[in-house]
Every structure is written in C-alpha cells, then in structure tokens.
Amino acid sequence: MTEPDQLQEGLRALESDLLDVRLAGPEAARRRGRQRTRHRTAAVVGGLAIVAAAGFLNPLESRTGGEPPPAAPATRVDRTPATTSTPSIPAMTEDVLLDAADLEPQDGGWQATGTPWAGQGPFACAPGGAEGADEAMLASFAPAEEGRLDQVVERYHSPGDAEARFDEVRAAVAECASQLDVATGGRPEFWQLAGVGDAAWVAGYWTSETAGEARRRVEIGVVWTGTAVTHVTWGFLAEDSIEPVVTDATVAAAEKLCVAAGGACVSDPVLEPDAAASENAS
C-alpha cells in the first residue's frame, strides 16, 4: 500500500463498502434545502430606496467601528483592457437596478428596503459610491430573515474610467478583507467570475461583528461592463463558511445592466479562484 498505484487501488476498492448504502435521494435533499436556513436573527422589511447622485456617495468607506479601514490602491487585473465588447449605457434609469424578484433564487423573501443608504458601504470593507462617476444609483434589499443586500450602479465617461473603477473597488476590497482576516481568523475568498461583463470579480469574507454563535459574512460582487460598474454587497449572519460565494445577484445585476443598455453580456458564468488576490492576501 506504499506505492501510489497500490494506494490508488486500495482507495478505489473502498467502493465495495458502499454496496448496501443508499443516500436519502434527491427529493430529500431538495426538501432539506428548502427547510434549511442560515442562522439569522431579526427580520427586516421595508420599501425601496434609490439614490441617484454623482458625488453623493463617498468612495470606499467602512462603517463598522473597529474594523480596519479599506485602502484604495488601484492596481489593475491582468486582462485585455479598454476595448469592450459589451454595450454602454447612455443614461441610467431604474431599469439598471435589481428588483426583489431578481433575488428570489438567492434564498427567499426579499423585499426592497426604505432605508436610505448614504455615503458609506453597509458593512466593513463594503464599497461605497465613487465621486468620479457621472451618475450613480443604489437599491437596497432585505431578506425575510436577517441581512441586507445593496447594489450600486455607476456610470462613467469612458470604458477606461469604468475599468479603472472596477480595479479600484476590487483592490480595495481585497486589501481590506485581508486585514479583516487577521482580526477575525477567517480566510477571505476571492474569485474571478468569467463570462460576465467585461470583467467580474467576487469576494467573500467575515467581519468581527457577531450575534451569539453567528458572525457577519459579507459577499461582494463587482462587474465592469462598457462604461458602467455595478457592485453588489450581501451581508448576513452565519455560523460557518460552508458554501462558496453565491453569485446569483451579481450575475443578475450584470444581466440587467446590459439588457438596459440594449445588449447582453452574460454567457456561461464560471467561478475561478483569483490566485493573485489570494496570494496578496496571505
């Protein structure tokens, strides 16, 4: 059993131990999936708030006291830059924003919230708006249980400006989340989301906020497409980091943005670990 071939053979042979073993089946898994909830606390409901104001939202500020403030380096992701194949938005309407129905695949019971979100991201390391944008819009939502999800859409003068903003958000979130990692003992996860917009990136990390056994989990998706950048920040309380990041809202946000611009920019989204960002974080 010491040679690799013998080891492989031995491991394969373990399959015979499973002959009389049956899992509960897909229907039971779907039933359990429906019943299962994250460990969340208070329910939050409300109406919808949208802020449209260039320069209204402060860039990349952290709201939670005691958390490290986000840095704002603007290093670029390796990619073929500046020439975009995705449509650009001439002017934004509310069609570029997610609505509650778009979020249904990502747990249930979402409602738009009436609480204005101004100036700062709602969670540690969450990006705010950019002062350099020509135009910016925001939508906020809460699920039936605890948590919130915010989407910001920013429109820029040129694709190059939008690309620079995408890189800025990505770098700032990665650096900030890596500092949080030191404080909370969890490892942030960074992913490239291929097949979405001109570039898309996703992060998942823990903050120091706690409620009983649960901690605050934040997942952020950033998409650059044409002259626009959209970022989606989802925060919720959970006991452990079991699932990889959920990308439904990020993909839906990109789809809405491109459909509003009269085109399409999503095809077969695939998550790929962002090794460079992870390496920098460690």
Binding site: M1, T2, L7, Q8, G10, L11, R12, L14, E15, S16, D17, L18, D20, V21, L23, A24, G25, P26, E27, A28, A29, R30, R32, G33, R34, R36, G47, L48, A49, I50, V51, A52, A53, A54, F56, T93, E94, A101, P105, D107, P116, A118, E135, M137, E189, D240, S241, I242, E243, P244, V246, T247, D248, V251, D268, V270, L271, E272, P273, S278
Partner: protein, 204 residues
C-alpha cells in the same frame, strides 16, 4: 411611491411591480414559473443520480467514516439545491458539492474538538457483509493522518486530479499540496506497516 431627496440627480422607484400592457396574465406567469422550477428539479435530480455514488465514495475516504460521509454528502446536496442556479454555473458542480461536503465535515470536526456535539448520527449504515480487513486497515490508517493530508491524497489518488487541480480546489499553494501528498503517503505506509489489521483510533 416615495421620493428620496438626495439633493442632486434625483431618481425614484416605487418598488411596486407594475403590469405593462402586453404582459402575460398572472396565471400564465405562475405556470411558466412552475415549469421552470420543475425543469430545475429534474436537472438537479439528474445531477444527484449521476454523482452521488462517486461523491459518497470520495467522502468516505476523506472522512474515514461511512455514516459521516453519508450525512455530509446529503447535506451538501441540500445546500447545492438551495443555490442550484449558482451551482449549475460552476465549472464543476460535483466539485462544488465535494468542497461543501468537506467543509461540513471539517466544521463538525472542529466543533467536536471544541467539545460541541459532533455529527448527529442517524444510525450507522448496516452492512450485509462487514468490510474486508484490508479496507478496515486502510480506513483506519486514513483516519490517523491529518485531515488536509487525507483530503489531498483522496483528491489526487482517488478522484484523479493533478497536483495543480488539487491546489486550486483546496485553495493552497502547489508546494503545500506536494508536501501533504508526500508526508501523507509516508505516514500511511508507516501506519499500514505497523498497525495491526483492524486497529482503529477515532481521531475525530
């Protein structure tokens, strides 16, 4: 409809879904939604049937315990259904389930080490035939090497992934995976040489 005065470039949104002229009636929309859900269920079921035996086998080797493997794999499928739209989009949905199953197992081991209730067992699986002595020895040895060595060995030698692929799935540098494989194999060789057949130590 509420207006939010931001002072500049004000926009509004009622959050109320309006029915546009030409929109399908509500009943039709509901039927379309149900059809979509039914299609998703069928796709999930097909995925489950195509992958569950293989994943159970892999998790059995990774956990060294059949009951634990069953529980973790079934729970991972439940979570896959919860996020089925995302999981379907993953490059390898089976790898998603395997990773989640592993994290469930690792999380429970950590809790067990911290004195919290470990696996909620629903009875051990019954065998009409007991496992062969060779299997018992191998499983016992696997349980006596580190969790991360065991994971790397199973992914490389059972799943058939390259070292690079293991590194990507585990989220560790390639050098670390090589070291885990090398040390894990050496430890297994030692354990299988020294330990009496059937010897076991429940390290979790």
């Amino acid at each position: 409809m509420s207006h939010l005065d931001t002072g500049r470039n004000q926009t509004q949104n009622s959050g109320v879904l309006s029915i546009e002229p030409g929109s399908p009636p509500a009943g039709l929309a509901i039927r379309q939604q149900r059809r979509a859900m039914s299609s998703q269920s069928e796709e999930f079921d097909a995925f489950y049937h195509a992958t569950n035996r293989r994943l159970l086998h892999q998790m059995y080797a990774m956990t060294g315990n059949l009951a634990d493997a069953q529980e973790c794999v079934q729970e991972a499928y439940a979570r896959a259904w919860q996020h089925w739209k995302s999981v379907q989009q993953a490059a390898d949905p089976a790898a998603w389930v395997r990773t989640v199953a592993w994290r469930i197992a690792a999380s429970r081991w950590r809790k067990a080490r911290n004195g919290v209730k470990a696996f909620a067992r629903h009875g051990r699986p019954e065998h009409s035939q007991p496992p062969s002595p060779d299997h018992v020895a191998l499983v016992s040895a696997l349980r006596n090497i580190s969790e991360e060595q065991r994971r790397a060995i199973v992914l490389h030698h059972l799943v058939g992934m390259s070292v690079d692929e293991v590194a990507r799935e585990v989220g560790a540098p390639v050098g670390t995976i090589k070291a885990r494989l090398s040390r894990g194999r050496a430890a297994l060789a030692e354990l299988l040489r020294d330990e009496p057949v059937g010897g076991d130590a429940d390290v979790h």
